[in-house]
C-alpha cells in the first residue's frame, strides 16, 4: 500500500504563458518532455494565458514554433497524460473542453492547491 504522504507525481510543470508571444510555453514544455524522457511521472497544469496553448486551429506563429499542435502531440508520445487546466482561466476566455486539442481536467483553486502539493517537484513557466 502506498504511503498517503508520498507525493503522487515526480514533476508538475505549470504553463502560464500563451503560445507564440514568448518562448516560455515552449521552454516549459521542453522541461516536461525531458522529465518524461528520463522516466519521470510528469503532469501539466495550464493556468492563465497558458490555457490558450491548447486551443484548436493554431498556426506556426512568428517565432516559428511550429504551432503548439505538433508539440502537444509529443506529449502523448512521451506518455504525459495528466493534463489539467485552470477553471477560472477557461471561464475568463470563454472556453470549453471542446475548444481544446487535448482531453484535460478542469480544476478550481482548491484542486490546484492539492495538485501542487502532491508533486515532488513543481516548475513554473
Amino acid at each position: 500500500m502506498r504511503d498517503e504522504q508520498t507525493p503522487d507525481g515526480d514533476l508538475l510543470v505549470i504553463l502560464r504563458h500563451g503560445p507564440h508571444g514568448t518562448s516560455w510555453l515552449r521552454e516549459g514544455l521542453d522541461a516536461a518532455l525531458v522529465g518524461a524522457a528520463f522516466g519521470r511521472e510528469v503532469a501539466l497544469l495550464f493556468m492563465g494565458e497558458g490555457v490558450l496553448a491548447l486551443l484548436e486551429g493554431q498556426g506556426p506563429g512568428a517565432l516559428g514554433q511550429k504551432g503548439t499542435g505538433p508539440t502537444l502531440e509529443m506529449l502523448e508520445m512521451y506518455d504525459i497524460e495528466a493534463l489539467y487546466v485552470e477553471g477560472r482561466a477557461m471561464e475568463r476566455y470563454g472556453l470549453e473542453q471542446q475548444d481544446l486539442l487535448l482531453e484535460t481536467r478542469c480544476l478550481d483553486a482548491a484542486a490546484i492547491a492539492e495538485l501542487v502539493d502532491r508533486n515532488a517537484l513543481v516548475l513554473t513557466f
Binding site: G18, H20, A62, G94
Partner: protein, 96 residues
C-alpha cells in the same frame, strides 16, 4: 490622428489601460502579438470606448487559433494593413 500599438494581453498588466488613457477621440488602437487576446468576445468590452477604432493583426490571430473566434466589432488587418495604419497616423505609440 495617432496609432497606438498594444502587444500585451488585457490580463498582463496595465498596457491596455494606459493606451486607452493616452488616446484622443480620433486615435486608433491596433492589437498585435499576445495583445490580440483582447479581440475575444470575452475581453473586448474593455475597448467599448473606442468602438470602430479597434484593430487586430490577422497573422497573430491566426497563429493563436483566434481567427473566427474574435468579436466582429474588431477590424482585422494583415501586415500590409498595419503599414497602412502607420501611414495614415501622424505618429505611433507602443504599449507593452
Amino acid at each position: 490622428m495617432k496609432l497606438h500599438i498594444v502587444n500585451r494581453a488585457p490580463d498582463a498588466g496595465r498596457a491596455v489601460e494606459q493606451a486607452l488613457s493616452a488616446m484622443t477621440a480620433e486615435d486608433r488602437l491596433l492589437l498585435i502579438e499576445d495583445g490580440v487576446q483582447g479581440a475575444l468576445p470575452s475581453q473586448v468590452d474593455g475597448f467599448a470606448d473606442i468602438e470602430g477604432r479597434l484593430y487586430a493583426l490577422r497573422d497573430d490571430l491566426e497563429a493563436r487559433g483566434l481567427m473566427g473566434r474574435h468579436d466582429e466589432r474588431v477590424k482585422v488587418v494583415d501586415v500590409d494593413g498595419f503599414v497602412t495604419l502607420t501611414e495614415q497616423a501622424e505618429r505611433t505609440l507602443s504599449w507593452y
